[in-house]
């Protein structure tokens, strides 16, 4: 039976230090945000970083809790911020690792280390169009196959791409002539 630590065994700063040691030169910056350690790394470091974070005995980030992304279309060249959120149940720790990449880019998949990435990365691929190299089954998950576009990108309209432009126009209301309508009804009834 695995009994978690009652309180975090490392401070947020110590967690960032450990991540920095594993990422080496790829570690770009780290900060403590709302009490959570947030480390930004360059994407090349990720394939080695995932197993290192899991196997580090002091960190033991056993669970990849969440993978998601944020779209910053004005930040040309690094439009996507992908983030991985980890938890250590044994040591009661939380950490967030982020990486920036350009539109149309890909990052390494975490599926070899964390099986939870199987679904979570497919969701990010589906809704943002970010590729994950090494994912065994990267296809849409929430939207149907063959769907065009990635809805969580900022340029994607909330109403959807096929929403008729004149759907809100009030002047269309009342265009139907009631006499024509009832004539059609009578015709349909064979009168």
């Amino acid at each position: 039976m695995l009994v978690p630590a009652a309180s975090p065994t490392l401070t947020a700063e110590a967690i960032l230090d450990r991540i920095q040691q594993h990422a080496g030169a790829a570690y770009l910056n780290g900060r403590v945000d709302h009490g959570d350690p947030v480390a930004e790394v360059s994407p090349e470091a990720l394939p080695a970083l995932f197993p290192a974070l899991r196997d580090d005995q002091e960190l033991k980030l056993e669970q990849l809790v969440d993978v998601t992304a944020v779209h910053w279309p004005l930040d040309v060249g690094r439009e996507f911020q992908v983030l991985w959120q980890f938890r250590s149940l044994t040591n009661n720790l939380f950490a967030r690792v982020t990486a920036r990449l350009s539109d149309g880019g890909s990052v390494a998949s975490a599926t070899a280390t964390y099986a939870s990435a199987l679904y979570l990365e497919r969701e990010v691929f589906d809704l943002f169009g970010i590729g994950f190299t090494g994912h065994p089954n990267l296809k849409r998950i929430l939207l149907p196959e063959g769907y065009e576009g990635h809805p969580l990108r900022k340029e994607y309209p909330v109403e959807g791409p096929t929403f008729p432009e004149d759907a809100h126009r009030n002047d269309l209301v009342g265009q139907l002539d009631p006499d024509d309508f009832w004539a059609d009804v009578d015709k349909a009834n064979g009168a």
């Binding site: 695995l2 939870s116 929430l142």
Partner: protein, 410 residues
């Protein structure tokens, strides 16, 4: 992406099947998939060789919609995700905003106790749905009827507190909002607790030989799998991992109440059944303590944080007090405006860890809001553990993982 084309072929293979194997489509309208989940199952006789989950039939784009609603408007979207425990979802959302604003520590005690009580009531309601339908899937009809009878009483309590049974939109950022409850509600909760019993359902299922035969050693999840698949909630506690956010990182009033976290090590469907059943007894304990604590608080104890930029002023003051009118106007027009930044907060929902990740640009609407849905992550294990089991056991496995498709698809 180049990866995609290869995958489409793999899907075709699955639908053709290999050799004499049969492909069975379970769902999206199958009663035991608990919603609109479709499982494409490759069968060799009665044994499952491959299982591929297809979801998204209920996808409403909640994350996109949250980006165009102000923080208060988003509350109504959250209880439509896991509709079996609406108030609990509302609270996860609100507490994530409070963390983003840095006012978590300022929430008054009254609101904290009320949130804990309501979260546990919704845990009971959600577990009653699970208990009933799980029994029903395996063939125990009476448990379903008795279970939903108890749930109905909880929904009446929600209705009395906030006017709605399922889509509660309970409470607001900074405290209880306009939903503070009176002594009458506390009396009713106490009356409910006094009359509440799980014993008859317990007696129907726990020692039932047919039920045990159907659930023991079925759908085994090892500790390694539970960690790797990111499982949370009762599913991970059925595999011998005593992880519960209510204990590990207490929020609301969970550090002030006394309760235990039931853990079972077997990792099968029966262990997950026992975890949830025991959790329900603990929930009853927590609610009782919260009601007592709420009674002990003075009648005029604040239930909302004292910040005019977060909580609207008393409506009686608005027409006569210039400052109150300005605050009211600002809140109605612009809503709550967290400072720019990002934060993630997760709570222990009945299904597992429900988390909200917010990016704020300083305006009244989130720049980005991501929902970490426990059902979605927990569902991924089904593809692995149903391989090698019998087709009838897949039904038991889905029931034991306890997913809500409204939350899987969002």
């Amino acid at each position: 992406m180049t990866v995609v084309s290869g995958v489409a072929d793999a899907r075709m293979d699955l639908e053709r099947g290999s050799g004499d194997n049969m492909i069975l489509n379970m769902g999206p309208q199958h009663p035991s998939t608990h919603g609109v989940l479709r499982l494409v199952i490759e069968l060799d006789g009665e044994e499952v060789r491959r299982c591929d989950a297809d979801m998204g039939y209920l996808h409403r784009g909640v994350e996109k919609l949250l980006e165009v609603h102000d923080y208060r408007g988003g509350i109504t979207l959250t209880d439509r995700m896991d509709y079996t425990s609406g108030p609990s979802n509302n609270m996860a959302y609100l507490m994530a905003i409070e963390k983003l604003m840095g006012i978590t520590d300022d929430i008054p005690l009254r609101a904290r106790y009320l949130r804990t009580a309501v979260a546990e009531l919704s845990r009971l309601a959600a577990h009653h749905i699970w208990l009933g339908t799980h029994g029903l899937d395996i063939g125990a009809m009476s448990a379903f009827l008795w279970s939903l009878r108890e749930r109905e009483k909880i929904l009446y309590l929600f209705e009395e507190a906030c006017g709605a049974r399922l889509t509660t939109s309970f409470m607001r950022v900074g405290g209880t909002g306009p939903h503070d409850v009176g002594d009458q509600w506390l009396d009713n909760v106490e009356a409910f607790l006094n009359g509440y019993t799980l014993d008859e359902i317990d007696a129907l299922l726990t020692e039932n030989e047919v039920f045990i035969e159907r659930t023991r050693d079925v759908g085994l999840i090892t500790q390694e799998q539970a960690l790797s698949y990111g499982l949370t909630g009762p599913v991970i506690r059925g595999s011998g991992i005593a992880w519960d956010l209510r204990k590990a990182q207490p929020y609301a009033a969970y550090d002030l109440v006394d309760f235990e976290v039931p853990v079972f090590t077997e990792g099968d469907v029966y262990a997950r059944y026992l975890v949830r059943l025991n959790e329900m007894y603990q929930s009853k304990r927590i609610i009782g303590q919260c009601v007592e604590a709420l009674r002990d608080l003075p009648l005029d104890a604040p239930s909302n944080v004292d910040l005019p930029q977060v909580v609207p002023p008393d409506i009686g003051r608005v027409p006569v007090d210039m400052e109150a009118m300005i605050n009211h106007f600002k809140l109605v027009m612009h809503g709550v405006q967290p400072p720019p930044g990002e934060s993630y907060f997760g709570i222990e929902n009945p299904k597992g860890e429900l988390g909200f990740y917010f990016v704020s640009d300083g305006t009244g609407m989130p720049y980005r809001c991501h929902v970490r849905s426990p059902s979605f992550v927990n569902l991924s294990i089904i593809e692995e553990i149903s391989v090698g089991s019998l087709i009838a056991d897949v039904v038991a496995i889905i029931g034991s993982v306890d997913i809500v498709l409204g939350e899987v698809d969002r």
